[in-house]
Amino acid sequence: MTRQQSQQLAIWVITAVSAIVVIPILIVILYMLYNGISTISWEFISQPPRNGMTEGGIFPALLGTIFLTLGTAVAAIPLGVGAAIYLAEYAGDNRLTRAIRLAIVNLAGIPSIVYGLFGLGMFVLFLNYGTSILAGSLTLGLMTLPVIISTAEEAILSVPQEFRIVSLSLGATRWQTIRNQVLPHALPGIITGVILGLGRAAGETAPILFTVAAFYLPNLPKSIFDQSMALPYHLYVIATQVPGMPLGIQYGTALILLFIVLSLTLVATLIRSTMRRRREW
């Protein structure tokens, strides 16, 4: 085989491998669209389920997922970004820091059901928040922390050292340097990480299973101490627990959930690519 032929072969193999990865995803999405698109209407999004959930819409579950995602953001962003600033800017290279980093890596590897059970033990029972949006948000927040910490730390570290040195040389304190010269440049990266983390949280079922999610609620939640329905759990329920569930509603629900998660990911990707193009150093 000549060098040109082996080059051709390599390109062919790599293209085929990429296709093998992409095609199943496309098939899944198209299949869901085919089965679910006809169900989706304003009524489906804005109405509660009726008649044993076999009719009506998904509004309470959709709203619950929005609340949970916002709650996760409130719980995880300050902690995660704060920890990232500490690790990137203040922490020295010592045993404590290495232990913290190891803990973060391990947190990222924990199965989501373990988070769910931890949330049940810690927030629902021990702290006595009950099965509530609060307990669910904290559990999801905990699960999201490693993603936010590691992407935010990476974003902070990618700000050129020179900016810090110049800022310090002008008589700025360390915090003023971080606040005014480091964080603004790291912000797009931090936002990207936060959104990716939230996107993952929005689609998770296991962490909310014991901490917040309700099978069916006639009323919308009134405070963070109330239970709520949530899309991923609702999908699980209507797909496996309700006999005689029309397929259209199942696929429609799945489609909406997919749409939420994909649009969060898309926004994150757009922010990242725009900022990368605008980067001036």
């Binding site: 900016f163 110049v166 008589g171 700025a172 001036e280």
Partner: protein, 253 residues
């Protein structure tokens, strides 16, 4: 009689076990330009950064001896490093404006030091600083433009404006012209001469013509030691040390 702005006395500096500066004694005269010359790695930049304690950020670094600024040792435990750096400003080798507007580059220091937050007070500081750096006429109509769009010579003068905006007493310049073309270099040198009325300037340079042209005093560093320190004219025309002579005539280094 010109007084000494900075007196360095018995100063040693170490990176871990490596001694970068050996028992230095350097007088820096007020309102004069002191040039430090010597081959790469001789310690002149380390010395410069010791004067405003920018070396503090290096974990393994250690300083011994005294750097007296107006008679007060800047390495004393009661010295506030942040305040010291306001008093002893710095201009770097590569023009390094923040990727922000021209205005915000100059306004950054005054803002963080609480000299002025906004409005006419801040406008006045920015204008005065840009005038001091001989950049005002070129940028006054586009203060909101990105500083990184200026040419390198303008960027370096902007960095000088940024440094003078916090009213330092001393300005340290670490090879400020090494990234500039000859025309821009000359304009920075002229600027240094004007600034020396107001500030004490210490400049590290690789360019011996620059030291000879632009400075009042010259120190020659070799392997972490100060070989010779003399008025510039004297050092270049009549060096006392053989090593100095062979370096400035290009036989050594």
């Amino acid at each position: 009689m010109i007084k000494n702005k900075i007196d360095v006395e018995g100063f040693n500096f170490y990176y871990g076990n490596f001694q970068a500066l050996k028992n230095l004694n350097v007088p820096i005269r007020e309102h004069q330009i002191t040039a430090l010359i010597g081959p790469s790695g001789c310690g002149k930049s380390t010395f410069l950064r010791s004067l405003n304690r920018m070396n503090d950020t290096i974990a393994s670094a250690r300083a011994e001896g005294k750097v007296l600024l107006n008679g007060k040792n800047v390495y004393d435990p009661d010295v506030d490093v942040v305040e010291l750096r306001q008093r002893v400003g710095m201009v770097f080798q590569r023009p390094n404006p923040f990727p922000q507007s021209i205005y915000n580059n100059v306004a950054f220091g005054p803002r963080v030091l609480g000299m002025a937050q906004k409005g006419t007070d801040l406008d006045n500081i920015v204008e005065a600083s840009l005038k001091e750096a001989a950049l005002w006429d070129e940028v006054k109509d586009r203060l909101n433009h990105l500083a990184t769009d200026l040419n390198p010579g303008q960027q370096q003068r902007l960095c000088i404006a940024r440094a003078v905006a916090v009213r330092p007493e001393v300005i340290l310049m670490d090879e400020p012209c090494s990234a500039l073309d000859p025309v821009a270099t000359l304009s920075v040198e002229e600027l240094m001469r004007e600034l020396s009325d107001e500030y004490t300037i210490v400049i590290v340079t690789h360019n011996m013509q620059q030291a000879a042209r632009a400075s009042d005093w010259t120190g020659f560093f070799w392997l972490g030691e100060l070989v010779e320190f003399a008025p510039t004219g004297e050092l270049f025309t009549n060096p006392k040390q053989e090593l100095t002579e062979s370096y400035i005539t290009g036989r050594q280094g």
